[in-house]
């Protein structure tokens, strides 16, 4: 065969191969082959088992049923048998198993080297270092915890306070304002909301179907009270500046300016008193006089809520058999006690305090760890006051700062003083599962086992209407080189000679169960939940009108626009970042590419001279953040809605450099009377970029 013949043979061969399926089939096979490359995670094969536990990532400890295949957790499902969440699941709880292998998961203890890098060290080195630093620091030790429901707090409290320090703080949340309000009105315990048994709920500022309080339980109540195709047994009204999912689900949405919750509650009180609803208690006359000033017209001018609509809701509230008014802040923190006091007063007018489906008085948990401060004391401590005092130099910065499951550098306003606390503290230690902004600034980072890998608990999250206690227990050994922080703290306390009275976490939880009268073994084995109805025995609340009047003197910032935060659990928490599993539910109305979306109504956009898609900056005079404009008529005039949970500079590719952190736009003022730090009302301006 000569060259020409060979070429013809090759040409024939090529045509033949193209006309046969082998090339195309091999291409398909190559695609399948590429899916089997060794580094691609495999779905385990094997028998499925289901274990009941709770999500420790979810702030309200939603009950979950974890599906394990061949002993490996693969999916978090809802738990219909959990009496609290009753089959509802939050976006964060759903991501529990995926987050165990998140790229941002801390895998080894890390120590900062002199050149500023965080390098992996062994647990032995990490524990030795922490022990030495705590021993050196003595009483100059502070701790911030971001998980108020866990009994691990008692270990931290005992460890810190045994050194002679009283600087053990919870991250700010709505319970601090509620506790101040409830105490001012004569309450002796924790303020609870019997959402389960109410037939009309007016949520002022609290986006109770998205992130506020016991959100999974709230959603279940919402769906159970409104069966498809049947008449709604429970009515909902929501007051807030954005037509969020809570507003969309509610029967009435009262578009109310952020930070004007107190004025709105007084407007409702005015209408109720006028209609003859005024259950007597001490101070009623004074309160009547105050509420008398808040006519619907005045409230409409202050809050933006139409007077007719306000009257409609007040009438429906008065007509309900078991109405309940609850007050909260969109961010879940930074709201003042004044609004909660006004909300309590409205409940009092309707006789709904201590009643079924109304406000309830919940007992404080009894500490079970030797030397731990009681819950009430810790909640009443003011982290912001301390951090601002450190920032101003009035208080000395601690030599050792412990950060437990918290991300204060991200989730507090920029004038909180936390930046200075981090700069001035001698040795900063983070105990966390994910590399957050705060972890990235610490000198020692201890990788914490997650909820499915450790013993932990969730005691009566704020927003509950009864005492509840759930346990999380290890379904699997800790991934990577993480360890349960409770065990690490117990061991540390022992070596430092601190008497905690417990040997290990199961022992601690057993002790807690004993103090409550719960069956620890049954709870671990079957995922049972301890519940106890509120006792109802407490002193009769009083209309503390003076305290409300004082809180009303809070000066609101004069700014062209107000910031309306939108908070959903799909964005994760400050401690988790955006769960990779949840990125699919972040919409183009929250994040467009790498830019936050500033939603405003058409009238506001016209006033500002911007259109949909325009690049703008949203600023507060000190900080400006970029955003893209979107027009949404569900935003109050002169308000800009921005999603919280964006703008991370740490974690992983799913969270980092996506949008802007709205906390940088907030600033702190002190509420007159209570002295509580308030940042729920932020004035901003929008400029074309």
């Amino acid at each position: 065969m000569n060259r020409r013949g060979f070429l013809k043979f090759a040409a024939g061969g090529t045509v033949g191969l193209v006309a046969s399926p082998i090339i195309w089939n091999t291409l398909y096979d190559a695609v399948y082959w590429s899916q089997n490359w060794g580094w691609i995670p495999r779905v385990p094969r094997g028998d499925s088992t289901y274990m009941r536990t709770i999500s420790k990532l979810c702030p309200s400890g939603t009950g979950i049923r974890v599906r394990l295949v061949d002993g490996q957790p693969v999916r978090a499902l809802s738990d219909p048998d959990n009496p609290l969440s009753r089959g509802a699941l939050t976006a964060l709880a759903a991501a529990e198993t995926q987050l165990m292998v998140s790229p941002a998961r801390l895998k080894e203890p890390l120590r900062r080297t002199p050149d500023g890098a965080l390098v992996a060290i062994s647990w032995e080195e990490a524990e030795k270092l922490l022990r030495e630093k705590l021993a050196e620091a003595g009483g100059s030790t502070a701790c911030i915890s971001g998980d108020p429901t866990s009994t691990v707090n008692e270990l931290l409290s005992s460890l810190v306070e045994s050194r002679g320090s009283a600087d053990f703080y919870f991250m700010p949340d709505d319970e601090q304002a509620a506790l101040a309000a409830w105490s001012a009105m004569g309450g002796m315990g924790r303020l609870g909301y019997d959402v389960d048994n109410s037939d009309f709920i007016l949520a002022i500022g609290a986006n109770m179907l998205e992130s506020w309080g016991t959100v999974a339980r709230n959603r279940r109540n919402f769906s159970a009270g409104r069966p498809a195709g049947q008449e709604a047994r429970v009515k909902f009204a929501y007051a807030g500046p954005v037509q969020n999912n809570t507003a969309a689900g509610a029967d009435w949405w009262l578009p109310c300016r952020d930070g004007m919750e107190m004025e709105l509650a007084l407007g409702i009180a005015h209408l109720l008193i006028k209609a003859g609803h005024a259950v007597p208690s001490a101070g009623l006359d004074d309160f009547k006089a105050l509420a008398g000033e808040y006519t619907p017209e005045k409230v409409a001018a202050l809050t933006g809520v139409d007077a007719g609509r306000l009257a409609e809701v007040a009438k429906a509230l008065a007509g309900a058999e078991k109405p309940l008014v609850l007050v909260g802040s969109a961010l879940g923190a930074g709201g003042g006690a004044g609004a909660v006091m006004a909300g309590i007063a409205v409940n009092m007018l309707l006789g709904r305090v201590g009643a079924e489906g109304g406000l309830v008085n919940l007992p404080f948990p009894t500490p079970v760890v030797t030397g731990a401060s009681d819950y009430r004391t810790v909640v009443n401590r003011n982290l912001i006051a301390w951090s601002q005092s450190v920032a101003s130099g009035e208080t000395e910065a601690p030599r050792v700062l412990l950060i437990y499951d918290a991300n204060p550098l991200y989730s507090l306003p920029s004038d909180s003083g936390m930046e200075e606390v981090f700069t001035r503290s001698g040795f900063k230690v983070a105990m966390a599962s994910f590399l957050s902004e705060s972890c990235a600034r610490c000198d020692l980072v201890l990788p914490a086992a997650m909820g499915l890998e450790r013993f932990d608990d969730c005691y009566t999250p704020y927003g509950s209407g009864e005492v509840s206690w759930c346990i999380s227990h290890p379904l699997v050994k800790p991934f990577y080189n993480s360890r349960p922080m409770g065990e690490v703290l117990i061991s540390l306390a022992k070596e430092l000679g601190v008497e905690t009275g417990v040997k290990d976490m199961p022992g601690l939880l057993y002790k807690k169960a004993y103090s409550l009268g719960a069956n620890f073994r049954k709870m671990v084995e079957s995922g049972a939940v301890f519940q106890k109805k509120a006792s109802g025995a407490f002193s009769v609340p009083v209309y503390n009108t003076d305290a409300i009047r004082t809180a009303l003197t809070l000066k609101k910032e004069a700014a062209p626009l107000s910031l309306a935060p939108v908070v959903v659990l799909g964005m994760g928490t400050a401690q988790t970042g955006i769960p990779p599993f949840a990125t699919k539910i972040i919409t183009e109305y929250q994040l467009a590419g790498h830019s936050s979306v500033a939603q405003m109504n058409a009238a506001t956009a016209d006033k500002l001279g911007v259109r949909k898609g325009a690049r703008v900056t949203v600023g507060n005079g000190k900080v400006k953040v970029p955003a893209l404009v979107d027009i949404f008529e569900g935003v109050l005039p002169d308000a800009v809605a921005l999603s919280a949970g964006l703008g991370h500079t740490a974690f992983d590719e799913f969270s980092r450099n996506k949008g802007s952190n709205i906390m940088t736009l907030t600033s702190i003022t002190r509420e007159p009377g209570t002295g509580l730090p308030v940042w729920s009302s932020a004035g901003v301006s929008v400029d074309k970029a």
């Binding site: 065969m1 013949g5 043979f9 040409a11 191969l17 046969s20 096979d29 495999r42």
Partner: protein, 215 residues
């Protein structure tokens, strides 16, 4: 000069069949044989099932129902292959005297070895596809395809090999490159229903969004 520019073969040169179109045809035929028969066969590795399970014996002679072994559990998870324990409900000891049954009892039932983890699945799907048998149920499909209500097995046969008439399991043919069996369905097989507008009815809601199958 004229001699040098002459590009065709001299008339006196012998014509070679290999250098004419015959070479093209030979190449074509060889490639077609390779492409249609030889190479596809070489790409496949033939494996036998761990046990020569006889469907005819169990269904026709013993009167078993398909759903005794192939059923959806209460959580919607489909159990396609029975466990050794469920086989042992009858075969705790050998009932007959066939060598395969005796081997099964000795190797699996008596040792507790799990047959389900060794059985080769003819329609194994990649991990990036989520297929739920519960959603593709007889109840749902027979809303329109009434024939499935009378003959539920016909719905299974839309995708699966008809095993009810075989005495020995078919040879499992696995692609050497991909590691998947020959019968693994490709996306267009799914699209026959999912991309069919008639399936967007409320009865099925079988829309074609990515997230429906790729979780």
């Amino acid at each position: 000069m004229e001699e040098r520019n002459h590009t065709s073969a001299p008339e006196t040169a012998k014509k070679c069949c290999c250098c004419g179109w015959g070479a093209f045809l030979v190449g074509l035929v060889v490639a077609l044989i390779l492409g249609w028969a030889v190479l596809p066969a070489l790409m496949q590795k033939e494996l036998k099932q761990p046990v020569a399970f006889n469907h005819v014996l169990h269904v026709d002679e013993q009167g078993m129902d398909c759903r005794q072994c192939h059923f959806a559990g209460p959580d919607g998870q489909f159990s396609g292959v029975p466990t050794t324990a469920s086989c042992a409900e009858c075969h705790s000891e050998a009932i007959g005297n066939t060598p395969e049954e005796i081997r099964f009892v000795q190797d699996y039932v008596q040792t507790g070895r799990e047959i389900r983890s060794e059985w080769l699945v003819y329609l194994k799907q990649p991990d990036n596809v989520f297929f739920s048998h519960s959603v593709h149920s007889v109840e749902r499909c027979s809303t329109c395809h009434t024939e499935y209500a009378e003959n539920p097995g016909a719905l299974c046969k839309v995708c699966h090999i008809d095993m009810s008439k075989v005495t020995t399991p078919p040879v499992y043919s696995e692609n050497r490159l991909s590691g998947y069996p020959k019968g693994t369905m490709l996306m267009w097989d799914c699209e026959r229903c999912h991309a069919n507008p008639n399936h967007l009815s409320p009865a099925t809601n079988a829309n074609n969004a990515c997230f429906v199958c790729h979780k």
